[in-house]
Symmetry: C2
Subunit: 345 residues, 2 copies
DNA sequence: CTGAAAGCGCTTACAG
DNA sequence: CTGAAAGCGCTTACAG
């Protein structure tokens, strides 16, 4: 319709109003340096032309990309079925979008690729900072971000967090205690735990915490095993637990996916849930309500955790100093997978 | 360690080598305009300094952002548990990343927000093009992208696709036929279908195709109902089907999530799968193997579809002309949810 | 307090 | 074939 396809720039506004581009910039950014009357004319003209700031040009002047990077290292087949990452991505995106910024995402099968991606992103000025999740034991990414000086927030960091990095820290103690108290309150005495690979830092931390608390509350050291997230390996780990001399009557799984895999295959495992074995999941998700029995789980607000990570990182970008926040606490949602236990102790 | 925190630029290289920035740019981009000897020195110096092109600066010169936008309009709670979007996002990201580009993602609950986000992205130069999914009947987004002239690819478009837009088109006919033939081959004669909301264009298309094919193959018009993706509504829609005068002995669900919801709650619905009702899912995912019985489903390669969408859009960006590709065909994976039907016809 | 000028890090049309 | 200059659309330090 004769509409210009070229997008209006501050030069167009400056020409129409008869001022310099600098004056336009000051007016549009609400800075002093231009009279009230001129400012009003500039704003009206910008409005009329439908001007919007060009993000790329603004970034080049600011030497800020306006993006925060997240590398997700999970096999793509797992990614689809594990709700955590999609929720985290959505949470981070919302928090950044609200602020006119964006999430730069990379998905890779190989954990070893992450550091290279960070390096490349940083060298090409594509990110202002990073969000790290699923910290490993002796995670090599920490050396990379420290060496390059990339502003970084660790989500779900241990306390104290890695030096020089911002962090959203979580104390698993209360959650572990709540899990044990819930199950002990139902009469369970032999409570085992299944978690993901041992090189995940949170798996190692929770292992230690669970052992200490179980000893305190139940008077015995619990059995804990690790497994990869693949379905057959989860079932194998569970079989191994159940084949022991004193099999557990309750098992705490470190994620929704692990627990759902087991409940879905209970018949094949030769167990009834919860009559033979109660099942509790560390992470709640709609998956826990898709299977029967529905799974008792700890809910937490991943959206809020993502927003906290962005808030903390943003503050570090502003001040240059690492910042800290607390993970939202988890709350227990009791469902059928831990109900009705009535075995003699 | 005394390392410069400032990233090297082509000006640094030009100074060291003793040439202009233009010459450095030509050399680094493999263009003619600089002698072989100079080119070699420039490349060596760039390598030694660890130079990487600044993406933002390059974008400003090119007037290209290097990003492709995707707006996902699903409630965040659903997003987590529905594998499709995470797989699509991963697929798009990989295809773009391989090319040095990136995916700009927005997540919103309200479909009506999408057009505004496109408008804002385009006005601020944040995207070079868009990927549209889940086209609605009379989708208002089409008018917006046409009005603004945004290069756009529609994934899963009808044939013929909307004028002026690139598309990855899929013909559901063979899949619908395969579903009906599989179920009819097992002896089923009353086959119903449950799909998502009626305003999804693909739901409407498949409805029409299913009705025609069922009439051809079974000699009767099948019952088809729509439902929102919420768990209780899916169950209600299924109950409604089963309460009819001639209840179906097999139901085709339009997604993995719909089918899994029903199989997970079969006991509550008062049915045994597959003895009373066979269940077939349009989209395969690991969810279909998490529940018992495992669900017969149509697999398709979402990664490949995402890559095809990016390839087609990239070609449009290069040539200015909309391009087309075919969706990868779906293949039937038979599992227990359609096995062992033995009712008298 | 106001305004013309330089600069962010690239690319490319244009004159020698 | 080679090289100095202008430009992409912004921001901001600096001189009046």
């Amino acid at each position: 319709m004769g509409e210009p396809t070229r997008r209006p720039t501050i030069a167009d506004i400056a020409r129409e109003v008869g001022v310099t581009k600098g004056a336009v910039s000051f007016a549009l950014n609400g800075r002093p340096g231009v009279s009230a009357a001129t400012r009003a004319r500039i704003l009206a003209t910008a409005e009329r032309l439908g001007w919007q700031p060009n993000t790329v040009a603004r970034s080049l002047s600011n030497l800020r990309s306006g993006s925060v990077g997240l590398v997700v290292t999970r096999p793509i087949s797992l990614l689809g079925v594990e709700p955590f990452y999609m929720r985290l991505i959505a949470g981070l995106e919302r928090a950044l979008h609200a602020d006119g910024r964006s999430l730069l995402l990379a998905v890779t099968d190989h954990a070893a690729d992450a550091a290279d991606i960070y390096r490349s992103w940083w060298a090409s000025g594509r990110v202002d900072g990073l969000v790290l999740t699923d910290l490993r034991v002796d995670d090599p990414r920490l050396a990379t971000v420290a060496e390059l000086g990339i502003p970084t927030v660790v989500l779900g960091a241990p306390s104290p967090p890695p030096p020089g990095l911002s962090a959203v820290v979580g104390d698993d103690g209360p959650t572990l205690r709540a899990a044990l108290e819930h199950l002990a309150g139902l009469g369970h005495r032999r409570i085992a735990r299944v978690s993901g690979p041992a090189d995940f830092a949170h798996a190692a931390r929770r292992n230690a915490g669970f052992a200490a608390l179980a000893t305190e509350l139940l008077g015995s050291t619990p059995t804990q095993v690790h497994t990869r997230y693949l379905s057959d390996q989860v079932l194998a780990a569970t079989r191994e637990l159940l084949a022991g001399p004193e099999p557990p009557t309750a098992i705490v799984y470190d994620s929704d996916l692990l627990a759902v895999t087991v409940v879905g295959s209970a018949t094949e495992l030769g167990i009834r849930v919860p009559a033979d074995v109660a099942v509790l999941a560390w992470d709640d998700s709609p998956l826990c309500e898709l299977v029967r029995p529905r799974i008792t789980a700890f809910s937490h607000d991943i959206d809020a955790d993502g927003a906290a990570a962005i808030a903390v990182l943003t503050e570090q970008l502003r001040t240059g100093v690492p910042q800290y926040a607390e993970l939202a606490p988890r709350t227990l949602t009791v469902r059928e997978s831990t109900a009705g236990y009535s075995k003699p102790v």
